[in-house]
């Protein structure tokens, strides 16, 4: 018996009024695969993420997570079924410390639900789990810093830390390295590789270096449609992709 795909997108479409942002996207992502989505600005990458994670309601089509239909479910239920996402703009709890931020993400897997009968500070497992994640994301020495005072790159790391805190099977990262310097990006790639080990990863990224290092397969999204899907080598050699996506721009060296 073969496992169902970790994420199975079938004929997904989304329109806002007359504007079609996503058109008939079909994509299967195998368990453990690292899949990147690239495409020019405005291609609908973030919209696709919002559809998968439940923030938007699809106009047509469906999404299945490990064989179970999740389209139409509210975001918190999708999250509880094992899909977690990060945001392009840092979306953290600014009035809390770094540690508290991650701890909020951890609560769910601890089976702590909406509980009001247990003291969170006395929960040793939650502590250990929180610090394991902080450590993995290189934030443990900043554990007690208020999140709003973190430098930008660390906020991005925290964004990822919150995303993986709930032990999801499928992780969606929306431009995790956007706005980072080269050295910060290198560190972030390292972090992402470590943090998502053994998980299914769907990542939107502009930095080709990041993608070709990280991804097993790549999909190219242009005007809300998938133009091509394949291994990095296949995408690199695809003439259509070069023309449509890269146009006359100077080719990044990885592609050239």
């Amino acid at each position: 018996m073969t496992l169902p795909p970790a994420l199975s997108i079938r004929g997904l479409s989304k329109s806002f009024g007359p504007a079609r942002i996503i058109t008939d996207v079909t994509l299967d992502i195998a368990p453990g695969e690292r899949h990147a989505i690239i495409g020019p600005n405005g291609a609908g990458k973030s919209t696709l993420f919002n559809l998968i994670s439940g923030l938007y309601f699809p106009t047509a089509g469906s999404v299945a997570l490990n064989g179970e239909n999740i389209s139409g479910l509210p975001p918190h239920q999708i999250n509880r079924m094992g899909l977690s996402r990060s945001f392009q703009v840092s979306n953290i709890f600014t009035n809390m410390t770094v540690r508290e931020n991650v701890r909020c993400g951890v609560l769910n897997t601890m089976g702590l639900g909406y509980s009001f009968w247990s003291n969170i500070g006395a929960n040793k497992t939650a502590h250990a789990k929180t610090f394991e994640i902080l450590e993995r994301c290189g934030l443990s020495d900043k554990a007690n810093v208020p999140a709003s005072l973190l430098p930008y790159a660390d906020q991005r790391s925290l964004e990822i830390a919150i995303t993986i805190a709930g032990d999801p099977d499928v992780i969606l990262l929306d431009e995790p390295t956007a706005g980072m310097s080269q050295s910060e990006t290198a560190r972030a790639v390292d972090l992402i590789a470590k943090a998502t080990e053994g998980k299914t990863l769907l990542i939107v990224e502009h930095d080709m270096g990041v993608i070709f290092n990280l991804a097993d397969r790549i999909s190219v999204l242009v005007y809300g449609e998938i133009l091509a899907t394949g291994t990095p080598q296949e995408i690199r050699g695809n003439a259509e992709v070069r023309e449509a996506y890269l146009g006359d721009e100077a080719l990044p060296e990885e592609l050239a």
Binding site: S53, G54, L55, P74, P75, H76, N79, R80, S84, R85, F87, N91, I92, F93, T94, N95, M96, R99, E100, R103, C104, G105, L107, N108, L112, G113, Y114, S115, F116, W117, S118, N119, I120, G121, H127, A128, K129, T130, F131, E132, E135, R136, S140, A143, N144, I162, T163, A165, G166
Partner: protein
């Protein structure tokens, strides 16, 4: 999870000693003060005042579970106080009748039932109202409160009509040997439940739900993506806030032995909001400050002046405009300033500011008091410290103008000094 064994996180979390110093100790000191107060032999007036303070502390803190901790601005919190109180009043009468199981129920434990009634009211009313947050929630809370307040005058069977429901607390089994007859015995009842309420609400902030409540306040969208439904978080917090308000209601029922439908109206709801906000909603202890100060003002100032509500309004607006962190913010800011790098300069600025505010206050008081006496038309003149300040006396207007101007100049100077120091 190899890191779990090797990484020592104890350096990054508060040690047990720190936890004791920062969390348990303040509560113990608070309890010790409450226990010590009767040793000073307070007068009957003092007792009455302190009882109202205890009730208002629990009430204002329960309100802050919504406004400060969950970001929910409610204009109808008195509703839950009212339901808790009314239910307690009814049970008090059932205890007096000795009918059924109620004959054996101690009056001392009524706040437990008040909590239940308040929480139930929160569960029923919160269900339609907690679907929306922000300003919409505020409007809804006002409408629902009006509905309940009008309904309270309609269903006399439960609410007792205009004259309300009264009872007698000296029935049923005693606890801790308290008959609850003399006012000094009621003190222990109030003190006990004030501490239980404060400790309970503090404990709530330490639970996962308490933390999620803060997370939902800061970023409801992200809460969805860590697997929680923000509406459900708000709803559950709302139930608890209603419960603690109901607890305060039952404290009030035992203390006054009467409850009237007026308890539900918008006035009390507004007063709760003002207490919590003036005290400082970003601090857990803020509402305690607000409850103590405003209860004192309410009982003392209404004897001295007709315009106490006007002063209350001015105080509230000033806090909203100039000190949004409330009294607690001012107190803790003062402490932090003195421990800062330049305590002397800080103190001078602070005192300048204080003097400016005091002068403006004098101007305001003279103006308001003259106006109030003119409005009453009894021909009585405002004469503080034997100084007659009639409205026809140019000295009065000079005083108003001069102190306002001088006060304004001083506060501006203080603001400039603060800028120079920053």
């Amino acid at each position: 999870m190899s890191t779990q064994d090797t990484f020592d996180y104890s350096a990054h979390v508060p040690s047990n000693a720190e936890k004791f110093r920062q969390r348990t100790l303040p509560l113990l000191i608070f309890a010790a003060i409450l226990v010590a107060i009767p040793l000073t032999g307070p007068s009957r007036t003092m007792y009455t005042l302190m009882h109202q303070m205890g009730i208002n502390i629990v009430l204002a803190m329960s309100y802050n579970m919504l406004l400060g901790r969950a970001g929910l601005l409610s204009f109808g919190h008195a509703v839950y106080f009212g339901f808790g109180g009314y239910f307690a009043m009814h049970v008090m009468n059932w205890i007096a009748d000795g009918s059924g199981i109620w004959g054996g129920f101690p009056v001392f434990l009524l706040p437990v039932l008040g909590f239940g009634a308040g929480a139930l009211a929160g569960a029923v009313i919160g269900w339609p109202s907690c679907r929306r947050a922000g300003t919409t929630f505020a409007m809804i809370s006002l409408g629902v409160a009006e509905l309940v307040a009008s309904g309270a005058f309609m269903f006399d069977g439960f609410f007792g009509g205009e004259q309300g429901i009264s009872g007698d607390r000296m029935n049923g089994p005693q606890m801790f040997g308290l008959t609850l007859g003399p006012i000094s015995q009621v003190y222990w009842f109030i003190a006990f439940w004030t501490i239980v309420g404060v400790a309970g609400m503090y404990a709530f902030t330490r639970t996962p739900l308490g933390k999620l409540s803060e997370a939902t306040r800061d970023n409801p969208q992200r809460v969805q993506f860590i697997g929680y439904n923000p509406q459900r978080v708000r709803y559950m917090v709302f139930i608890f806030a209603g419960g603690f308000a109901g607890l305060a209601g039952a404290m009030s029922a035992v203390n006054y032995e009467i409850f009237t439908p007026d308890a539900f109206s918008l006035g009390p709801s507004g007063f709760i909001l003002i207490m919590a906000y003036v005290g400082g909603i970003t601090y857990f202890v803020g509402p305690i400050f607000g409850a103590i100060l405003l209860t004192y003002m309410q009982s003392m100032m209404s004897d001295f002046t007709d315009a106490w509500l006007l002063y209350l309004g001015v105080l509230f607006i000033s806090i909203v405009m100039f000190a949004p962190r409330g009294l607690a913010g001012i107190v803790f800011g003062f402490g932090a300033g003195l421990r800062g790098p330049r305590p002397r300069a800080f103190l001078i600025t602070w005192l300048t500011h204080l003097a400016g505010i005091a002068l403006m206050l004098i101007g305001l008081i003279v103006l308001v008091e003259i106006a109030v006496r003119w409005s009453n038309g009894y021909g009585e003149a405002f004469a503080p410290f034997g100084l007659p300040l009639a409205q026809s006396n140019p000295l009065s207007w000079l005083l108003v103008l001069l102190s306002a101007l001088a006060g304004g100049a001083l506060t501006r100077r203080a603001a400039r000094m603060r800028e120079a120091q920053a």
